[in-house]
């Protein structure tokens, strides 16, 4: 399976996430789209990890692709932490203004 398939798949997923961030106004959905982007990255990293694992002919510096999978692990860690904080912030916001529409967030401007 050519690696560029995965690259394009991940890029597309990433960009769908970006489009979601750009078009939606619900903070939670935006956040979900960010998660989508992170997953695109995860997928890409795992693909690269497989690619690096076999890409190198014998004799060259052996690069063990497991680095990338560890990285994915850390991304999940960070994502979990972010989600806990992010949802707390969104809830706090909701408590105060009873809305999670980002277009209402325009007290601070200019």
């Amino acid at each position: 399976m050519p690696v560029s398939y995965y690259i394009i798949l991940a890029a597309t997923l990433f960009c769908i996430g970006v489009v979601g961030v750009l078009t939606r106004r619900n903070a939670i959905i935006i956040f979900m789209c960010v998660e989508l982007m992170l997953n695109a990255v995860n997928l890409l990293l795992v693909a690269f990890s497989k690619m690096q694992n076999i890409a190198h002919p014998p004799g060259s510096v052996v690069i063990n692709g497991s680095d990338a999978q560890i990285f994915v692990f850390f991304i999940m860690v960070v994502a979990a932490a972010e989600v806990s904080v992010g949802l707390a912030i969104i809830v706090m916001m909701y408590r105060n203004v009873h809305s999670i529409d980002v277009n209402f967030l325009n007290r601070l401007k200019n």
Binding site: S4, L13, K50, S84
Partner: protein
């Protein structure tokens, strides 16, 4: 076209379709559900890539924990009686266009990256994704970041308490 290829295409299609549904569903609950579908599809990819550990963690952490949290929060907020903000179709349009532009740029670089064309991925093989290998490397080479990520969790914990607590 062997079975793995078919599975790959199916999973890819599902992933992208799910992602599009996440973005385009009006009701947030549907978005969450579609997102879970995407996560499962991605986990399928991981399995296809023989990264079992990541696949399992993905389902447990993302689909299991994170998405439940999302769902919970969504349910907690009763979003149905929100005042409908005026919809700006242009904004959406421009959003899609610029996302598309970004995609074009990314795809064009990957196309120009001729070194990538030479490389391919062998599916269903390899053992780097196994928990044993990953565990070994995580507690040796990656011990420092592993320890340090505890601080991240601590701060997230403290933060969630500080922010979330009602006073």
């Amino acid at each position: 076209m062997d079975i793995t290829t078919i599975v790959f295409w199916l999973l890819s299609a599902l992933t992208l379709f799910g992602a599009i549904m996440v973005v385009s569903r009006k009701n947030p609950i549907f978005s969450v559900l579609w997102l879970i579908v995407v996560f499962f599809a991605i986990s399928g990819h991981y399995i296809l890539l023989n990264a079992q550990f990541i696949a399992v963690v993905n389902i447990i952490v993302y689909a299991g924990a994170i998405m439940v949290l999302f769902l919970f929060v969504l349910m907690m907020m009763n979003l149905n009686n929100l005042p409908a903000t005026n919809k700006n179709i242009w904004m959406k349009f421009i959003g899609v266009i610029s996302g598309g532009l970004l995609l074009c740029v990314l795809v064009s670089t990957s196309k120009s990256a001729a070194d990538m064309n030479l490389k391919s991925i062998v599916l269903k093989e390899g053992n780097i994704g196994l928990i044993e290998n990953l565990g070994k490397i995580l507690f040796t080479k990656y011990a420092v970041p592993f320890e340090i990520s505890s601080i991240l969790f601590l701060s997230a914990m403290v933060g969630a308490v500080v922010i979330g607590k009602k006073d």
